[in-house]
Symmetry: C2
């Protein structure tokens, strides 16, 4: 029998995948599991988008151009204009989700073996993309105590080598909830210019900012050809299954290279592009986006109030996105999450994403877990109560790490 390739056989499974069967087993036994572990919002996809898909006057469901339908590119352009960012159609390429945009950005910025600096904790799928692109991620550690903001310039600069091609970051941050301040973006821009790097900003949570304002990497005039922005409608339209994202840059060489990457896969899905066109053409669209953010703002407050009542947990109020990294009074968050799924008594339990999967540096994040506040306020409150009871019970039975 022929062997499968080493690269595919050894591609890491996300750590959460190990826990999913346990959650399914718990549900099979009749347990209610509150999923705080996934970034899949429960909020209905706006009617204006779904109606656009449903009423699209499509007779032949044809390929779109590989860079996207002209009217969908215009929909992205009009969206960015609302954020004060003026772009031309050649500066946008529509991708199959933000995932493909990250992959194209890494392919465009790097040849195999090149390095990309990424602040950790970071979105674990960056590991998968960098593996596909054969790019080495170099982690820049940030900490819960600093609200996951950037360390001083010299700490970043220490990581830059002759093979460094880019700094990749999500802003607002998944899993951190951090929103980079003007001076942090200024620092990154300065480093990009000084060391001739690309800044690849994953801005899919742009709308979700509760403290301060969001500054796009495209709004820094000095950055010019160094800026690559990754976007997606998945979160802001609660339309993860639409698979519509974008890669955006004012650098014509970047866009030419991205178009070459895009050609082989033919096109992003057509109908969902038309859904976006309908949504952006609807007079209520800005209001719908704002209502979505307000819902998350309320959940964030509920979550913070409830978590504050749990002894031993630590967190900072997230500034953006819909995630929070929570410090837990346990030695091994994964063991705790597993216990909650298999051994915690009662009708209900809660599932969190163990923190280790968000770090590259071994050993970091072991006492942390990511919470996604993608449940309604009532469920969120209930989930926090269950978590509180769970932690109390676990402290009595948990194995202690040797001191």
């Amino acid at each position: 029998m022929p062997n499968v390739s080493r690269r595919s056989a050894t591609a890491p499974m996300s750590p959460i995948r190990r826990l999913v069967p346990l959650a399914n087993e718990a549900k099979r036994k009749g347990k209610k599991v509150y999923h705080l572990n996934i970034g899949q919002p429960d909020i209905p996809t706006p009617k204006e988008f779904l109606d656009g898909v449903r009423s699209a006057p499509v007779e032949v469901l044809a390929y779109s151009p590989s860079q996207g339908l002209p009217e969908a590119i215009e929909a992205f352009l009009s969206y960015y204009r609302e954020w004060g960012i003026t772009l031309s159609p050649e500066e946008i390429l529509i991708t199959t989700g933000g995932s493909e945009a990250v992959l194209f950005a890494l392919n465009v910025a790097c040849d195999p073996g090149d390095q990309v600096i990424v602040p950790e904790p970071f979105y674990p799928n960056y590991n998968g993309f960098s593996r596909l692109a054969e790019v080495e991620l170099v982690s820049l550690t940030t900490s819960r105590e600093d609200g996951f903001h950037l360390p001083p310039q010299e700490e970043i600069e220490r990581l830059i080598t002759a093979r460094t091609r880019a700094i990749l970051f999500s802003n607002p941050g998944n899993p951190t909830g951090a929103v980079y301040r003007e001076e942090e973006l200024g620092l990154l821009a300065e480093l990009a210019l000084k060391h001739d790097l690309f800044l690849i900003a994953d801005e899919v949570y742009r709308e979700f900012v509760y403290v301060g304002v969001h500054r796009s990497v495209l709004s820094l005039p000095e950055l010019g050809n160094h800026a690559i922005m990754v976007d997606s409608i998945s979160k802001r339209l609660s339309a993860c299954g639409a698979r519509i994202g974008a890669i955006v840059s004012r650098n014509p060489k970047v866009m030419d290279a991205a178009r070459r990457c895009a050609m082989a896969r033919l096109s992003p899905p057509t109908l969902e592009q038309l859904g976006l066109v309908a949504f952006m053409g609807h007079p209520r669209h800005r209001q719908v986006l704002q209502e979505m953010v307000e819902e998350y703002r309320r959940r964030r407050e509920v979550l913070a109030r409830e978590l504050a009542l749990i002894p031993g947990v630590s967190f900072q109020l997230p500034e953006g996105a819909f995630y929070m990294m929570l410090g837990l009074p346990v030695d091994d968050a994964e063991a705790f999450v597993r216990w909650m799924l298999t051994d915690f008594p009662g009708e209900e339990t809660v599932m969190l994403a163990p923190g280790e999967g968000f770090y590259k540096t071994p050993g970091l994040g072991r006492d942390e877990a990511r919470i996604a506040y993608v449940l309604n306020e009532h469920d969120l409150q209930r989930a926090c109560e269950v978590l509180k009871r769970g932690l109390e019970s676990y402290q009595e039975v948990a194995p202690k790490a040797p001191v």
Copy 2:
């Protein structure tokens, strides 16, 4: 300014891309251009599919599982059962178009630097996928005179090296229209077993067979773990913009590796999977598929009758798919296509895909062009008349190659 990566900057543009601006220019000048160059059918997407998308009871357009929705996997399973192929759900992974399935297959079969044998002429996007996967394609030349059927065993075997991991082929063939005979598949199977290779069969044109019967790579019991099948609904449902394909194998290691590839990109589009579920659940679905094939069968006959009237062209009646490689009485088919778009007088012209782009061996296919019979019978007839006049006029003005 940072440089973009070598791999992305130098990724080849498909040769047809050079001609598209000329076609657009001709249209701007009011010329009617018959597009025989593209694989985008003009046939309406079945109502049963589009209605399924439109009426999908979706409130939150969520990610599907990365291997696809269980009900969509079941729809694929029931489709294969109609072809006499019994599979289990773990043997199918739904992909974002057949494109992604080819890319996953190459990634699973090969590590960077490995080789894959592919009969030429072949689908040019295989070049893009192999570049992304850093796999070297080794071309096995077939000829128009043989109807693009396979050469004898020793000619294939001569290409096998220590780095060969797979043989990739489309069957029915794009651009050849060849449908491999039982003994050809048997030969490939024998080679795969003898040299421990994967057979990667791109069977997206399975339905479109006019001569003989289609044998899937999955129907050869002896192949077992060696067979990987690539599929897509793009052509058989005239739904290229749906971006729904599949990678299928009975080899559990292949499927485990494919699932690992699939995880980073999260999921294929959700609504179109539901469209497929609706289509396959409709009692008329087999009839709809057959009507689609009958339409192409009629076109193929119209095309053959009309082309037979053009002096100097040569072809064999295609056995499957909806393509034909046409030998032209010119030295340089690309120059002829360009001339048809820029200099051919009159109200109408025709665009073909120059043959060279379908070969890897330099110099081959220069006097060939691929025709896709994706126009209705009337337009197809008219396009052939225009082509006939074009060739007559061109012979008077064309530069002659030195003898």
